[in-house]
Each structure stands twice: as structure tokens, then as C-alpha cells.
Amino acid sequence: MEKVYYLDNAAATRLDERVLEAMTPYFFTTYSVATSEFGYSIGVEAKDAMEEARGKLAAFFGAAQKEFIFTSGSTESSNLALKGVARALGEKKGKHLIVSKIEDFPVLYSARALEKEGFKVDYLDVDEDGFINLDALQDLITAETILVSVQHGNQEIGTIQDIKSIATLCHDNGVLFHTDATHTFTRVPLDVREIPADLVTVSAHTLHGPKGIGGLYIRNKTPIAKIMDGGFQEFDLRGGMDNIPGAVGFAKAVELVTPEENQRLTEMRDKIIELAFEKIPHAKLNGHSTRRTPQNANISFSYVEGESVTLHLDMYGIAVSTGSACFSRSLEASHVIMRIGGDHERAHGSIRMTVGRFNTMDEIIFVVDTLAQVVARLREFSSLGKE
């Protein structure tokens, strides 16, 4: 296979070999279900491995071991957070939720599903960089409000919310707060001893860990109901087969992230932005220049369409993504770019490049050089931008 320049690490990442190595025994040696301490030996070993992984992940948040449950990924975690709280508190307290307009689909569509069940949802506006406004949030909170969900870092434009202030505001109003930290976990600090978040969604797939494993931090005593019926796994909050290799891999993946690596990702991110603006005219950065996740660069190039750009780049082995409607499965332009005040045109020409552990500075330079050529070539015969 030809060399691949993979800059779509927000979507999925290449597994780290050390993660696979940590997982392997749980496929071939300790492959049983996790049993109670009264079970058979390999079941107890499996249980120990799972709990050790849980402990490591919980510790990463500054949380207690029993405050972290494993799920199949971010989508399930956010579904459980929103629907579980709605089920637990809908009748007792109220039927009102608040989510930001630029949430990723799991939160957005869980909210819409709840609307169909009779809940009222307010969708919080964001400014041109993607930040929510605290006063606007305060104004929306009522006695009926049971949950606020605002993501930590945005999936497309990388904007990092002031999660501490948001969580504190919710806490002061006696409202539960959920944050989707899929794109910030281990990259941007989130300690629940300092940030009064009640529920935090995380996943291994963005961290060079395995796909199909994620988790939800649930602060002790948070009212939440089970939505996946089955056995009594995960403190009876999520029925289903324990994903022991996944849990072990997730913990290993988290262990492997270092502050030095995050610094390196930030440098590559900034290099992409710097070079793109140097080489390509009519460019606009999507999201904030510094308050963004270390891995995310997202730039709109006027007069060209994103799918055309990505297809050309693919011919050079370069993988990036775009918010263009033509690229999406619903044929709709990125809701994030539209909500930060962008128009169809800005979404149309937006290119998201997200870096990971296995990228190098040389790759970044090659990618941006190629991108500049592709954009110039497409602009030559674009129906826009000539006057």
C-alpha cells in the first residue's frame, strides 16, 4: 500500500501497538466473562483486569472507581447520560433540558428523541467561535430543568468551552451537567474535583485505543436510569457483555498520552494553520485561534467545494474531512459551521485536519503543500471568485 497521510484523527485513530499488546491476553488467555469473586479463576482474573482498568480511567478524572462505567463508545455514553437522566427525573423534577446547538449527533439526536417523548429542549446558541454564553444559559434554566449538556471540545472546529464556569453555573442552579469530552479526554485536563460536572462522555477511539469501547463518568448519587436492559453489569447501569479487552485497551491508551505528546500535536496543528494561511489566499479559520483542541485545524477555503478537495487529496494518499453537504450522509452542510454564523459557502469549502500520535511535521508540510495545489487547481475553473 502507498503511504497514507492520515489527518482525520478526530474521526478514528490508528491503534497503538502497545494497546494491542495489553489487550491480547484478554482475547486468548483470560477470555471469559468477568465473574464475581465466587466464580471460576479466569473469570475472577478477568474481573480484576476490568476493575483495574476502571480504576485507572476514574483516576484520570480524579474520580472514584465506582463513578466510571464502560460503554460501547461516545454515542452510547451520551445516550445514557441524556435519556437516563430524563427517565430518572422526568416525572420527579421536570421535563426540560438544554443542549448547545453545536453538540455532536449523539447528544443532539438524543435530545430530539426526548422531545418526541414530551420533553422540552432548548438549543443554546453559540458565538462566531463556537462559545456558548453563560448569561444566555442562565436565562434558559427554569425550575423544570433537569440537565444541561454542553460539550468540552467541539468535534469539527475544536472550540474548547469554559467548562468550569458552565458546570459551576449548573451546579449553583441545582441542575445536572453533562459534557461530551470525546475530543478532549487526556488532551485537555478535566478533573471532576475542580469542575463540578455530573456526567462526562469519553471514548477510546480518538486516543489510539480500540473502537467499540467508551465510558461515562457518573458522579456519585447522580439520578440516572438504565437504558440498556440486560444483566447487572456496570453497577446495574448497563446490561451487556463486559468488553474486557476493550476496557484494558482503553486504560492503556489513556496511560500512553503524555503532556509532551499534546504539546507536539499543538505544534503540528499550529503549523497546519500557519502554512495554510501562508500558501492559500481566501482562507478563514473555523473556531478560535488558541482555545481549541490540540489536534484540530479547520479552515474554509472560498470558491472550492470540500468533497472535490478531499477526493483530489485522496489521490495523494491524504485523508482529511470536510463539512460540505456533498460529503455528508444526510447531504446537509455541517451544522457546526452553520451555527457559528457560517453560510453554506463556508461549510462547503471547509476542510478539517486532525492530527494524532503517528503524524510527523514532514507529513504536515506535504499535506498543506498538496492542499494548496489542489485548491489552486479547483479555483482555476470555479464559477466563483473571479470578479
Binding site: 467545494e305 460540505s324 453537504a325 456533498c326 444526510s330 446537509e332 459557502e345 482555476e380 464559477s383
Partner: protein
């Protein structure tokens, strides 16, 4: 490399034919859809005696299938009379490209429409067109045939998405047989509104869904 596009489409996408502009064209048009975001412009030189298209160029602000269809349509139209070129269908363009992914049909349909619009523009400029007629259900239906149903890759009329059409005092109401939260509901709605609101005697198009 695995791709949803075949080699002919990719070849036209990589090396599109007849790109650019014609200075002082005899006919020109731009078609665009804010729903998909694609835009395509087309320029014609027509021989005043034979009505043969002697030169044709296009510009695209669009995705791969838009660019590839623009390219093939210029090849198909060049050397034909305007009457023959007008009859080129999306299906012929798609066949010439060896087929396009269904979901991409609506991006490529623009490239076919723009050829017809540019010919119309030529005819209007050269006094070959009769007066405007008021919008009827039949005209609305004809316009909606240009809106693609991405589920099937065929237009929304042929795929029975149009349940009701009502025209009242410059307002057209269209009922679409899809749930409002369907994956493609918004895309189809925006496309349909654009096609109908551009009719000369229509101020507003309202699109509703059955569920």
C-alpha cells in the same frame, strides 16, 4: 483505490474538459442549489446560421460528480444544434460517464440543467422565445422533476414523493411523502423550494412532510 466513482468519472473530475469562460458568449447561465451548495456556469458560442454550438465552456463550484458531469455535458453538446443539445438528458450524461452514485444524482443534474438554461438564454436574447405562462400544477411538477431523491437517485416526482400540490395566489404548497426527520428531508425541501420560488409568478413555496 476504492472509490464510489468509476474511472470515467474520476478521469473527468481530474482532467475536466472545456473549463473556463468564453468572453462575450452568445448564451450563458448559472445554476446553483444552496441545499447541496453546488454551482455550475456555462458559456456558449452558437453559429447564427446553423444554430450549431461551436464552442462551450463551463465553470464549477461543486463536488466531483458536478465537475465530471459539467465536463461530459460540454463534450456531448459541442457540435450539436441547440435543438439537439436541449434534448440531452441527465440519463445520457450519466450513461456517458458510466453511471454515477445514486446519492450524487442531484449534484450532477445541475450540469444538465445549466446547458438547457444557457440555450434558453441564447434563445431569449435572440427573440426565439414565446411569452410567459402562468404557473400550473403541471409546471410545478415539471420543476420538481429536477429535484433528486437521493434515496433512489431518481427525481422526486418519479419516485412518488410528491403527494399534493396546491397553488394559491403566488404561493405553492407541496406535501412530500416522507417523515420530517428523514435523513434527506431538509436537503429535498431546500432543493424543492429553490426550484419553485424561481418561477416568475411565485413568491413563496411551502414544503410540508406527511409525518
Amino acid at each position: 483505490m476504492p472509490s464510489p466513482y468509476n474511472d470515467i468519472v474520476l478521469e473527468h473530475f481530474k482532467n475536466p474538459r472545456n473549463t473556463g469562460r468564453i468572453e462575450n458568449p452568445d448564451g450563458k447561465a448559472t445554476e446553483g442549489s444552496p441545499a447541496c451548495g453546488d454551482m455550475v456556469s456555462l458559456y456558449l458560442k452558437v453559429d447564427p446560421e446553423t444554430k450549431i454550438i461551436t464552442d462551450i465552456k463551463f465553470e464549477s463550484y461543486g463536488c466531483a460528480s458536478n465537475i465530471a458531469t459539467g465536463s461530459i455535458i460540454t463534450e456531448l453538446a459541442k457540435g450539436k444544434t441547440i435543438d439537439a443539445a436541449k434534448k440531452i438528458t441527465w440519463q445520457e450524461a450519466s450513461d456517458a460517464l458510466g453511471g454515477l452514485p445514486k446519492i450524487k444524482a442531484h449534484c450532477s443534474v445541475l450540469a444538465v440543467e445549466v446547458l438547457r438554461s444557457a440555450i434558453l438564454n441564447y434563445e431569449e436574447k435572440h427573440g426565439l422565445i414565446t411569452s410567459k405562462e402562468p404557473t400550473t400544477e403541471e409546471i410545478v411538477r415539471k420543476r420538481l422533476k429536477k429535484v433528486m431523491n437521493p434515496i433512489k437517485g431518481l427525481d422526486m416526482v418519479a419516485t412518488h414523493l410528491v403527494k399534493e400540490i396546491e397553488i394559491k395566489g403566488g404561493v405553492v404548497r407541496i406535501l412530500i411523502d416522507l417523515p420530517a426527520d428523514h435523513q434527506f428531508a431538509n436537503s429535498i425541501k431546500e432543493d424543492a423550494i429553490e426550484k419553485i420560488e424561481s418561477l416568475w409568478d411565485i413568491d413563496k413555496a411551502i414544503v410540508e412532510f406527511t409525518d
